[in-house]
Symmetry: C2
Subunit: 400 residues, 2 copies
């Protein structure tokens, strides 16, 4: 739905606001949200609440009266902890001055987009993609340009020719999400080098969303248990902005805590943009982030194990008649290709009715997603077993 | 400082980002922040931490596992509680659908600005004003237009002729903050009617910042203990957006919790903009907001009493040789006019050196604020007594 359709002319608003797209998942979600027994696999979050050691850190901070305004760049302790975390996971020291705490991954994305794009600019997105990328670009007044990936027997792949051809004099940035939501595509080192080369040749910024970087299943893609990263191939002077979040690794979706990693030279601009966006992130929430980074490895490992099991369970859907699903390399989504003449929204609605399972229609992730359904498998095995059983049983009726 | 001055050309960013102004308070703050015994009166927050009954509500929510994604418009319970709160304070029922929870007053302002302004547009601000207004307008790509108020023996007043003359075909909105930061100016009913009339005649939006509405000292201006509000004079179809925060009334500056009040017809657009800004406010923080509204009246009364006492204490500075200070009508700031040839920043620096007291330079609030210093008196009496003593003692040396 285009929000402006319902707007009385008296309230005419700016195009950047009116054209901000409504989530394509919401209609389906609203249709099914109150159904008893529905298994909700439509949203990008797991079923585990935040572990107690993280909640306790926030509680202690609140009790200690840490309820005042704070640093726009984040508390020094969290920025230093981020630096140590990155050294541990990526094997190289990183200057704490590169980290800017944000109130979630989305605000990090908004700040990144505000810095590099505006009216008259284009930003390339490899699709199917998380719809909020296009949303953030639109709100900044710029034009999102979808560049479809190619789907084949081995899953999704970048189409470098198409990416190169999509670059115009107006192109300012290239948004790369690896491992990817919703497809599970995970860039190889060779992909990352080619993307960086393309960005360098055309003077583009890269906005790197590597938030699922620790969820990677294909052994050929694993580097010390995580996915290849732009930080493995970049030089320090490259124009790369990393948007990151605590949401997925540490089950903190509802906390709204993330970070932007950027060249320290951009520090004052980022500080100003944070000032006029969130005016900083609550200290007690940042204390939760410190606990997550310092004491969270066991929990992250548990999350990854659960996702790996979930991926195997939902992988069985590929053995049914109406689903095509090459094993996703990373993230925690199965992007099911459905053999049907119906739209993905119709099928998602049908599965609510017939299977009492909530999936996200592929059309929510751009035109390239039509014909697919997204299933989040970061969930307990028994729910996923039951969902697979119900979907398999209902699909023959739903697709026809 | 203009942030772009230090930026290597390689990192050329969008003007909306580079031109986002750096806070004029920060230099002074950084100069004095680590001084032992400094009395900090430079920031717009009191000295009380959030009261325990609010922290406890958040703690209980965290312990109950409310750590997942939530409604972009805010949890229904908080929106309903906001409706009841407004009925209690303003004496008229308000549809809960008018309320949109935001992660602070600043995010509410950012959403409001994104809806009504962008490149090619102008927004009028009556100055001296909170610098974040101009910041939010700049980040939206629009042009802030300062319209200075008039300072006289009775304090600050709007200059309606000047406001009217500042309207151009590009003007989209009028930003009114009453009671005002930093001046304490508080609109009368007559002022509000005249402003509304001006906005109606020119088809402008009004962005109403009434966050200090409960801090009003002049009995002639009090309506049931609060300041006159646009809601007293508006019709339901008027184009007014109210930006609000829990920060001041309930000592929750560090929580980042506020709300935008808008015509329900804008609901879908606001929901979309919140999606691409914060993606919603943590549920456990919203639970704190519910507790504040439902159980907070005693605390708010205590805060107002303290501010009233503080205002009397700092009012004594008007009896010294170098200060002019008509009693501020509302909010919790004294905006001291200093008789000196020095800049307000020089004087603020001098007072750190000579009095160990932190005040904000008036120049941080726009050109119209040069020659003034802002002092926040939402603080315990003993600190304010000591600050007044030290300032009075040091000023003769500092101004010369």
């Amino acid at each position: 739905m285009n929000a402006s359709a319902a707007m009385p002319p008296f309230f005419a608003l700016r195009p950047e606001a009116e054209q901000a797209p409504t989530s394509g998942i919401v209609d389906v979600f609203n249709y099914g949200r109150n159904r008893e027994g529905l298994i909700p696999l439509w949203v990008g979050e797991g079923d585990l609440p935040t572990p107690p050691f993280i909640c306790d850190a926030a509680t202690r901070s609140l009790a200690a009266g840490e309820t005042f305004y704070t640093y726009q760049r984040g508390i020094p302790e969290l920025r230093q902890t981020l630096s140590r975390y990155h050294e541990r996971i990526y094997g190289q020291p990183v200057d704490p001055e590169r980290f800017f705490v944000t109130s979630g991954g989305m605000p990090a994305m908004q700040v990144a987009m505000r810095m590099v794009s505006g009216p008259g600019d284009e930003v390339l997105i490899s699709t199917p993609a998380w719809p909020n990328f296009a949303g953030a670009i639109t709100v900044a007044g710029a034009q999102p340009v979808a560049v479809p990936m190619v789907f084949g027997q081995n899953g999704w792949n970048l189409d470098f020719d198409r990416l190169e051809k999509a670059v115009t004099p107006r192109t300012r940035a290239l948004l790369i999400n690896s491992p990817a939501n919703p497809t599970g595509w995970t860039a190889t080192f060779s992909d990352l080098r080619a993307l960086l080369d393309l960005a360098r040749r055309h003077g583009l910024w890269i906005i790197a969303d590597e938030i699922y970087g620790r969820f990677v299943y294909d052994p050929a893609l694993q580097v010390e248990g995580r996915a290849p990263s732009f930080r493995d191939v970049m030089a320090s002077e490259d124009r790369i902005l990393f948007v990151q979040t605590f949401s997925k690794n540490w089950a903190m979706t509802g906390w709204r805590l993330g970070w932007l990693e950027a060249p320290p030279a951009l520090g004052q601009v980022i500080e100003n943009l944070v000032q006029y966006q969130s005016s900083g992130t609550p200290v007690f929430i940042q204390r939760g982030g410190v606990a997550a980074l310092e004491q969270g490895e066991e929990f992250v490992a548990h999350q990854i194990d659960r996702a790996r099991t979930g991926r195997e369970i939902v992988g069985r859907l590929s053995q049914t008649d109406f689903v095509e699903l090459p094993p996703p390399s990373g993230a925690f989504y199965a992007f099911l290709k459905i053999k049907s003449q119906k739209t993905s929204k119709e099928i998602a609605m049908g599965l609510i009715e017939e299977a009492n399972v909530g999936l996200a229609p592929g059309s929510a992730f751009g035109e390239a997603g039509e014909g697919y359904l997204r299933l989040c498998y970061a969930r307990k095995a028994s729910d996923l077993e039951e969902a697979v059983r119900r979907i398999g049983e209902a699909l023959p009726r739903v697709v026809g």
